[in-house]
């Protein structure tokens, strides 16, 4: 089993004819994801790579293909509209890869998506992969393998690094989820931890956080209160200076809040194994 996506995922790709959208649509199809439709306004009626039907609007795509998930690769200024379009069309699972979405846009997208009852992953996230079943987003399939570990992360390439080291150590994954590095996103650590706790195949969970905000601290409390499965964690940004945005819009230490030390303490205090280096995740998992 897995969380959020599996063999029954029927995926729509919004922005399927764009540079990133077309590249990753092919990657996902190659990995085995059922890509059942794409959206590019003005290209409705055409087929992507001669196979995948393209629609002008998400509403048409939903009506004609029965998608149950969508992934968004549109430029940042159009991403909010794309997320809202997907939610309004009734798609229950929306993944937004786009980086650079204005935060004020997200203050509107967030309540909208919730009102429509959809789950949003991202924006500014690498998506997720349930190895051997389905991949939605941009996580390289080759570094993953099926197995009993769930992984949730705010980062992209750092996730690949950790997954890569886990796979090398023969620790496969149920699902690897990148929740994204923006200050306002649709799915947080707790959402994923709860899903992993409920997934019978997942035996242990890896959590990769970074500086900024208090999500990791709240997740740590959640772990202590609600989780029976072992959790190990890593926090990036121990050497980050306060007040500077470390690439991700959300990775910023405000005043004395959101430091790596604070988060690592919260992990320790709530029974989460703390990795000092990414590679230590493997060792910690072995000992749980």
């Amino acid at each position: 089993m897995s969380i959020f996506i599996d063999c029954d995922t029927r995926l729509l790709v919004q922005g399927i004819t764009g540079r990133d959208g077309s590249f990753h649509a092919r990657q996902m199809i190659e990995y085995g994801t059922q890509v059942v439709g794409g959206v590019t306004p003005g290209k409705g009626g055409q087929k992507f790579d001669g196979k995948v039907p393209i629609f002008n609007t998400v509403e048409q795509a939903v009506r004609e293909t029965g998608v149950n998930s969508t992934v968004i690769y549109v430029p940042p200024m159009f991403a909010a509209d794309a997320m809202m379009e997907a939610a309004d069309a009734g798609i229950p699972f929306i993944v937004c890869i786009t980086e650079g979405v204005p935060v004020l846009d997200m203050t509107k997208v967030y309540p909208f998506v919730r009102e429509k009852g959809a789950r949003l992953l991202g924006p500014n996230c690498p998506g997720l992969i349930s190895p051997g079943m389905s991949k939605v987003g941009i996580i390289p399939g080759g570094i993953c393998k099926p197995g009993p570990i769930g992984l949730v992360s705010r980062s992209g390439t750092l996730t690949y690094e950790v997954v890569f080291q886990m796979t090398r150590a023969d620790m496969g994954q149920t699902t690897c989820v990148g929740i994204g590095g923006d200050p306002i996103n649709g799915t947080n650590f707790i959402d994923c931890l709860a899903a992993f706790e409920a997934d019978p195949q997942t035996k242990a969970v890896v959590m990769i956080g970074e500086i900024g905000g208090t999500d990791e601290q709240e997740a740590a409390v959640f772990v202590k209160k609600n989780m029976t499965k072992p959790v190990v964690g890593f926090i990036a940004g121990q050497t980050a200076p306060p007040g500077r945005r470390m690439g991700h819009a959300g990775a910023i230490i405000s005043g004395s809040a959101g430091t790596a030390a604070e988060k690592m303490e919260a992990f320790e205090a709530n029974g989460i194994g703390v990795a000092k280096r990414p590679i230590d995740v493997v060792e910690l998992l072995r000992n749980r």
């Binding site: 204005p102 935060v103 509107k108 309540p111 941009i138 390289p140 750092l158 990036a236 690439g247 280096r277």
Partner: protein
């Protein structure tokens, strides 16, 4: 993006917020003539993207035009937190009866714009929050409805018991909210919001931070960027589409992805080195970005070794390899380089590097250890 006080004041003024007049000077003579125009005592304020201007001597009263010239001369010679002062704002000194604080930020916990107001203005709001939290009222705004009048009145009454002043403050808060939203702000602040002895509510200072992601659709706001008041290497990086933050260490880092970049810096520290920077070349790599990254890093004399850590996903590692080769042909390196590459097109990349006499590794820990050893002359662990 930070903008200057005088720029934020123009935005606030356009939204209707009452703000005393003021003009910007870049020379002492200009400051003198502005002071003469206004007459009476003026305040000369450094326009610089750094907090604590006052303590650093960047805000001074001047009773005469001559004094304004002298004060401006001193302030324009200052460097505050590493940033040179290039402009001063000259504005008539106001008589102040009370000082309050009002600000709005995007708050990640509530996922909304949140107002913070306090009758204890004029000082650091974080200090007020820490010592006398009951003097701060926080109010999150439902983005679907905006700041309603009744909400603004609740904030206004928290600052002033007089209904006229509460109404004036409420109106200012609605104007501040609309300026904040229409400029794509991540912070908008008035500190102090003062009352004059006659009871009029006026904004004496203005601060605004813009969400960088808003700039593409707001060219008029993007045009406010003042590159002369930023660190040159960060300007260079931004123009090359790199995210770069200068630090004080000796290991220059070039990484793809913000999380991996931070983890790399942490690992440098872990192995006894000190990162010289944060540098994220981003997702879609191209050789030009790598060339720019090397140019920026090698211009820092404290960098003693360079570390590449690339996990290819969208980033093609062969692009990175080509960039390294091109850049080092243009400007031969004077410090050692350690290259770690894995992922997309890894084999091609390794071949390119070998053909150009670079060695490369695939393990992150090993690469970091080696870079630290080279930077410290083997003195670190």
């Amino acid at each position: 993006m930070n903008i200057h006080e005088y720029q934020a004041k123009e935005i606030f003024r356009a939204a209707g917020i009452p703000i005393p007049p003021g003009d910007v000077a870049t020379t002492p003579a200009e400051a003198e003539s502005i002071a003469r125009k206004f007459g009476g005592t003026v305040v000369v304020k450094a326009q610089v993207h750094a907090g604590g201007r006052g303590k650093a001597g960047g805000v001074k009263l001047a009773k005469t035009p001559d004094e304004a010239r002298e004060v401006a001369e001193r302030i324009l010679a200052l460097t505050i937190k590493g940033l040179p002062v290039k402009k001063v704002l000259v504005t008539p000194a106001a008589d102040i009866a009370t000082e309050a604080y009002t600000g709005v930020i995007v708050d990640r916990a509530s996922k909304r714009a949140v107002f913070m107001v306090s009758p204890a203005g004029g000082i650091d709001i974080e200090e007020v929050a820490a010592k006398t939290p009951e003097k701060i009222l926080r109010h999150s705004v439902d983005p679907r409805y905006g700041l309603q009048t009744y909400e603004a009145m609740q904030l206004g009454f928290f600052l002033y018991s007089d209904v006229k002043q509460a109404r004036a403050a409420a109106k200012i808060m609605q104007q501040l909210y609309s300026a904040f939203i229409s400029s794509g702000g991540s912070l908008a602040e008035i500190n102090p919001l003062v009352t004059t002895p006659a009871g009029v509510v006026v904004a004496l200072d203005a601060k605004m931070v813009i969400d960088d992601n808003e700039l593409d659709r707001r060219p008029e706001i993007a045009a406010l960027r003042d590159e002369s008041s930023e660190d040159p290497s960060e300007v260079d990086a931004r123009n090359a589409n790199l995210t770069f933050i200068k630090l004080d260490g000796n290991v220059g880092c070039v990484v793809n992805g913000a999380g991996l970049a931070m983890a790399t810096m942490d690992l440098v520290k872990y192995y006894g080195g000190d990162p010289a920077n944060f540098l994220d070349i981003g997702g879609s790599s191209n050789p030009e970005k790598v060339v720019a990254a090397l140019r920026i890093i090698t211009s820092d004399p404290s960098v003693k070794a360079i570390l590449f850590n690339i996990f290819g996903g969208i980033t093609r590692t062969d692009d990175v390899a080509n960039g390294i080769v091109t850049a080092t042909k243009l400007n031969p390196l004077k410090v050692p380089i350690v290259i770690r590459l894995t992922g997309t097109n890894e084999e091609t990349a390794l071949k390119i590097l070998q053909e150009n006499s670079f060695s490369a590794m695939t393990d992150m820990d090993e690469a970091v250890k080696k870079a630290v050893a080279l930077a410290t002359g083997g003195k670190a662990a």
